[in-house]
Amino acid sequence: MAVAGCSPKTPSTVTPQVTVYFCKVGTDALVPTPFSVDKSLEGSRLENALVAQLLAGPAVPTSTVVQFPTGTSANVELSGDLATVDLNGPITKAYRGGASDEVGLFKSLTYTVTSVTGIARVQVTLAGRKMPTLPGGEFEIDEPLTRETFAQ
């Protein structure tokens, strides 16, 4: 485990460009939300911090953006330009939300994860398994998602 302060011999002096994207309910409009992280975070640790912030929701609680169900957790691993986001929690058992929220969840996740330079694709897995959709969902997640996935 890397600990800030003892790992990098050449500490980063640039704050990573990080943004968490939320998605407005009922639309596909994104709400880019700047987010400060420790300068030492990079790679998968940075991605995990970003996704954790996305799952936690906006700093000021609001019902105007789509949010992952309470109890959702995630782990992000990187390989090349692909981020694999493994979701856990009730969302992997049953999804009873609507289609627009479902798309919003994955759009916000994809935009957030691909905000890190070098990451272009997001493969979602549910409790470690690649699935075609959320259980009870409609939106396809068995192939990597990109920002183009949501282009009209």
């Binding site: 639309t27 105007t64 699935m131 959709t133 409609e138």
Partner: protein
Amino acid sequence: MIALLTALACTTVSWTPALAIGPAVTPTQAQVYVAGRRIAFAHLGITYGDPVAQVDDPGLHAMLASVGARSSWQPGTRFVAITRGDGKLITFTLGSNAVSVDGSPVSMPFAPFSSGSKMYLPLLPLAKALDLGVRGFQGGYVFVPQIVSVTPRREGSVTIVRIAGSAPLTWHSSSANSSHAHTLTITFPGFGTDATGAQPIAAGLATRADVTESGPPGFPTTAVAIALKHAATFASHRVGSGAAVDVVIARDSAQLRAATPASTPSSVHVAVTPLQTLPPTPKSTPAPTLPPPTPESTLQPTATTSTTPAVVPSGISTAEPLGPGESPSPSSSESPLPGASMPPLTSQKITDVSVAELPNGTRITLTLTGPVTFEWHRLGDPDDRYWLDIDHTVLVGAAQLLTSKLAFIKEIKVSQHLLDPDQVVRVSITPTQAIDVRVGTVAGSPNQLGIEIESQPPAPDAPIAGVGNTFGIAQASTPPSGQPVLPSRTDPTLIVIDPGHGGTDPGSLNTAYGLTESHVTLNIAERLEADLKRQGWHVVMTRDGDYDVGPPGGTDAQELQARCDVANAAGARLFVSVHINSSVSAAPNGGTTYYWQPTDRALAQTVQNDMITASGITDDGVIRNNFYVIHHTRMPSILVEVAYLSNSHDATLLSRQSFLDQVAAGIAHGIADFTGGPPAPVGQARPQQPPGAPKP
């Protein structure tokens, strides 16, 4: 291809006789079982790791006979015709690794070859062409006949469920009646199936068919359980040569007696056209229209009545139609296929797409890395779209939108239609009137495929679908009476409605209003079904009650795929999935229509407009999204999210039957607007419009 040629070159130096042409055949002691019986081959061999047998091996004849098929082959000829038990024709051609099955080319790992004076056939592609399942067996190969389809229909007062297999059927039947359930079970010992699962049946007395396989893999038993609305009586009749059974279900024995056994399938006309060679320069030759062949063609087209579409290998001087059991009659003047090269083993690429204007039309030219197979379709009035799918092909670069000087061409698109696991490039043309299209290789450029849009409309009896390839066979079908019909696998009068969710998956809930998504979607779908039937459409519902469409206990993927399977298997013209939206927020409201294929946007927009107009729901627009059921259906498909269950205004509306009726009426109206209604019945053709006349 180079790899294959190298392989062929390397293998011909092995132990085969001096005069032989072809790869090595290694004798094997592997055993072959077909339909539970051991088949003794005189000379079973292994080539490229797969089993092969000589065409005249008694074992091959026994294998075919055990599934009701038979072959014909004359020494010295290059073709082997095998007639399946159901009358469909399989044609193997020496040196071609595309086997023709019922008129469609199916690629196989390697071509039939000759060694000495013997011609060898690969057994696994043969088994596949016979619709036999291939099961694991350490000491050899087990081929299992399959139950391939369960198709219900209504005839007068009785319901008939036709169960078709890939070999003559033997069966047992039983029925179970209780106060709650009435089930009729037909059991087929020795038959496997790839069609396990449940399918709803919207026909008369039957509501559902469950297909299950049990027993050892080498000799399985398939059971078809038909759920009935109430107690009934039934009889089963062998159909045709015995590879199908009609289960006739009636309310009482009087009705059953009055019902006549099903007739054999009606005949079809088949025309064969050669692959065209298009002139190298745009201005050189006026373009003849399909299907009449060019006068200089080496193939003469024929049209005949036959229950088995004929497949005529290119390079022979006449193309005789084939009837069931007849052998092909290749002429003695066989010669190498003109311009033919080895068919593709691996996928090809399209490296360039260009468009050129001709005096009499527009040509799209695709530059290919090797020979390909393709299939084309043309919808009928008033939806005149044309598309051509090139199999096993990857488009290098992004999808391309092309323009044409022809005023009646709205859009031409070349795109990667499918990528994984099937690689298909689609050329789609959206015109405002019927168009005639010629497809062919470009003279002097065998690696270029030309698609020419004629400036003249097609002849009334022009074919509306066909398959072809750039290494041999081209074939097109014409309808029986000049009346345009879609290919046999597509029913232009059929719309499949998918009421979202159901069974173990209720979808979204609004407990305050007592609303469950799966109930509301079914309510709307039932009214939509009635509205569409009034317009003259045939309608199939993926479910007509509160149940899972997929297999009991199946995965979510199976559930969604089962809904797609209903539409794909029926060859529906359109697929409409009905859903109710929901959000964690109470604020969003309104209706949205989703589409996935860009070509379906117009359908989505038309349905959305009419739904909004009819119901007054807030217009949230049309959105492109990758929802499973509109991605995995093979016809124009949309998913309508009618309103938000989570919004009190919308929930109030969704609680009113009058609103649900308006939504259904709006969707039905949109479908009518988009399609112009179902095709006229045969014999009542729509009046032909003069070229360029505006659509009504």
